[in-house]
Amino acid sequence: MIRAEHEIHRRRRSRNVGMLVVLIGLICVVFGLTMVKVKQLGAAQSFDHVVRPELLPGEEAPQ
């Protein structure tokens, strides 16, 4: 007989829900840490497929 909810799901509900909360919490913590750490680096620029003269070494940016 196929049952929509196996008995083991009911039995392990607290473990599964607990694990879900822990994983969501972990995602939030890692995301938050990344945002704070990156913001602490200050403004950052790098090559993004467009030539930006102000990034070229030894050259003054055109007025």
């Binding site: 039995r11 392990r12 473990r15 829900v17 694990m19 913590v29 938050g32 840490l33």
Partner: protein, 309 residues
Amino acid sequence: MTDATILDEEHEAQFGDYFALLKPRVMTLVVFTALVGMLVAPVTLHPFLGFCAILFIAVGGGAAGALNMWWDADIDAVMRRTSKRPIPSGRVTGRDALSIGLALSGFAVVMLGLATNWAAGGLLAFTIFFYAVVYSMWLKRSTPQNIVIGGAAGAFPPMIGWVAATGSVSLESVLMFALIFLWTPPHFWALALFMRSDYDDAGVPMLTVTHGRRTTRRHIFAYTLVLAAFAVWLGLTTAGGPIYLVTAIALNAWFIKGAWEIRGRDEEAAEADSYLVEKKFFRFSLLYLFLHFGALLTDAILRTAGVIA
């Protein structure tokens, strides 16, 4: 439904059982003292980094607790106070506790290192190693000074909090360590005096068993005197302040008085009033630590608000 199914259901570990492996009660003390250690430090962490640091210190402390429960499952089963823990009661297997302890230890150390600095991460790793290996596996069952050594593991959190903020160890953090380290023996020996059968049954060489109860009473008094000196000294550093100093002087005078009373009692007198003085001393010792760190926190808040210099 068969009998076997009923048995399985009864023994199915719930999320709370795994959480209980982390010793949540001990964790609250770890969180509180680490938070104070971090907030009294002269360097201010970003609030979210501070939150993460406390979280990872708590997880690391919990992981050490799980490893301790895995190793001590045999004596936990004998002692009344610990017989309902997840492993001796059969709700969680020792293997699961070991896995969780190791996994969370690695996670907490790496994450604390990444979130703050590697000195804090290294100190957390050392704390876990100290509690799980040096204390639980090595010394707890072999020396009557087990409580003294175990106290060191519980004393590290404020120092880790301080190092997470500043990146280095200093006199203030060492004195916060000393406050918990020296508080632990009188606290636990007072407990051992009135919970005598528990430790005797488990064969743990508590001072009360190996050197006798009279010696234990003298030790409680001696440690309390040294503790008082260090507690007041902390008030004279940059971590302390007027509120801490007044609190420390009052609490330590009271604590010394209690220890003196314990020292002067014999077993007949103690049994006659069901260890009233020892129980009172034990309960007060919980408040003692909380109020010391609470006073440190109050001074730190007042300093930040500019109320005191």
